[in-house]
Subunit: 330 residues, 2 copies
DNA sequence: TTTTTCACCGCAAACGTTGTAGATTTATTT
DNA sequence: AAATAAATCTACAACGTTTGCGGTGAAAAA
């Protein structure tokens, strides 16, 4: 089975290729008569413009890139789902790549994005990322980059992120409200701004509003580490009365530790997390969390991308506000 | 900033475009001398072949399509992660689309895949899918389709799926082993072969090996439905002593119901599930499950795809065997 | 010396599309 | 009727690659 091409259509109708092309695009130069004839044949022969030829000619790929640490992640997959949905609706395709938190893979993927001439890129930086040069390279090629969630700390980039400061503040205030005094807080990799900001905000709120609260912070990745650290601290004599989790992975680890020690939530130990919203509902009682929706972030990032593509003047940074969802674990 | 092209390289070196092209591909016609000169300049000028031009010329897109009901799904996202990984390693890109379980979207996406000339497609059919014609269309264009997980029931397709029959059998035998007598089993949409097969297998094992077991089966989608149904049956007088869940979503719903009624697992009620392996570890005690790894399925599907692409003779259907992972909920 | 052989390289035609500029026909004006 | 204007269409050259085939020069064989 062969592809239909403009040439084929033109041969059948006995008119030139350019006329066919224009007829299909409703060019004013073409008479209504031939337009309808062309269009009819086009649908009959299931003509589809060859994307690759179009792109070669117009240098418009209509592909958007998404670079995330990993696809199989509660937060990023809902982000992707959101972007994919909107992209499709606007005639874009998406090309997804994973950095697996390796800067080497990240660079390789950026390279691929450039090679495939994506028209724009959504990116969450890897943990290892230090040098922004590979990203700059894209901008040299006029490919706008919108950073999401894990954004670079320095200025000069488009960023769409969660209101990290806010989220941590809300959590801190909820903890203070409940008169908890010994907080154990788990954060992600200290290299990420997202961790730093949340940590700084949490610390600050306690210092200002409840200076007598004892806050112990740890920075670690993944659920296994979180479980280990939590077990340790829960068995120590300065046992906390509330645990704050920066993300789902921390929460899972924490809850495993809590289960292992047969502690009751929230009586023996209170728990609060920042989360996409799914994980917290799996426990009993449901975990109280500050919502940070990947889906909403995707929607927001997409409008930002659109205005970048249109070369609109855009705010450099937009934030997605957060809200406290009470579960019963605090 | 401009793209480097063969033309540019050829102009700098004062040789023809074709020589440059061949030099970069180690064509035997080209002398070592010019080869090295060309290659050096190419790296210096960061030459990258224009994908779209290559594809236009060679009609090889090196893109593989993945069509799943949704990306934000424990099973499919690990499947995607696996395929993406292997694809990248073999020089393919992947293009991911979601059917959202709507046949209309599915068809539209198949169309897009064709338009983008993917070289092969991994597909899990939507719940609504009845007519296989849109898939046939792809094969008319010589695009091999490898169905995964949710595969069509009829013959004549490449299928890579979980050993559904096996998985259900293993679960049934585990239940019999524990001398449970009143089974409440939740399955997915009755339209999907995956539901039918698992249901048939479970039923058969009980009939053969433990005819006195009372099995109540329901077919429903999603966690809310599962929760509702479970609550109902747990409150009824013929309360089951074990609940079988066909998938993670069922499990979550079931566990919510169990939590609501403050039942103890496994003493008040035992639970067993078929799962990717992540969800079951979140509960306390961990849920006993029959493992069905999306990641492994992805790896398996990829080799199947490779042999399809090579036009090897291939088994029509390959299965991924399952294994019981004991948690403590049974 | 002439012929053959080879290693090396260039020409030119595709792939399917779009845009510019010009060609043809038809309608309108003088 | 001739000249101008408008409507409709066509030719052609790109975009960057790949590839069959033909051409060059020099070395090897005659």
């Amino acid at each position: 089975m062969q592809q239909s091409t403009l040439k084929k259509l033109s041969e059948v109708l006995g008119i030139s290729i350019s006329t066919v092309s224009r007829a299909l695009k409703d060019h004013p130069d073409i008479s209504e008569n031939t337009k309808t004839k062309v269009k009819e044949l086009a649908t009959a022969l299931e003509y589809e413009p060859n994307n690759y030829a179009v792109q070669l000619r117009t240098r418009q790929s209509n592909v958007l890139g998404i670079l995330v640490p990993s696809i199989d992640n509660f937060f990023y997959d809902s982000f992707i789902a959101a972007v994919e949905e909107d992209a499709r609706a606007h005639g874009y395709s998406v090309m997804i790549m994973q950095s697996r938190d390796k800067v080497q893979l990240e660079t390789a993927n950026l390279h691929l994005f450039r090679k495939n001439m994506v028209m724009g890129l959504f990116a969450a930086v890897s943990i290892e990322t230090d040098d922004m040069a590979p990203f700059h390279k894209l901008e040299e090629f006029k490919i706008p980059v919108v950073f999401i969630d894990r954004v670079p700390e320095v200025e000069g980039y488009h960023k769409v992120c969660l209101a990290d400061e806010d989220a941590a503040r809300i959590a801190a205030e909820a903890i203070i409200e409940k008169k908890k005094k010994r907080v154990f807080a788990l954060f992600g990799h200290p290299h990420l701004s997202i961790s730093k900001i949340r940590h700084a905000s949490l610390t600050e709120v306690f210092e200002k509003k409840s200076p007598r609260t004892k806050l112990t912070s740890v920075f670690l990745e993944g659920m296994a580490e979180s479980e280990r650290a939590t077990l340790e601290v829960l068995k120590s004599k300065s046992k906390p009365d509330v645990i704050f989790c920066m993300g789902d992975m921390h929460l899972i680890g924490v809850m495993r530790a809590v289960h292992k020690l047969k502690l009751k939530v929230p009586d023996d130990i209170a728990v609060i997390s920042i989360s996409n919203g799914f994980m917290p509902t799996l426990y009993d009682p449901k975990i109280t969390y500050v919502e940070t929706s990947g889906f909403k972030l995707g929607k927001l990032a997409f409008v930002q991308m659109l205005s970048c593509l249109r070369n609109d003047v855009t705010p450099e940074q937009v934030m997605l506000s957060s809200v406290l969802v009470e579960g019963g674990s605090l």
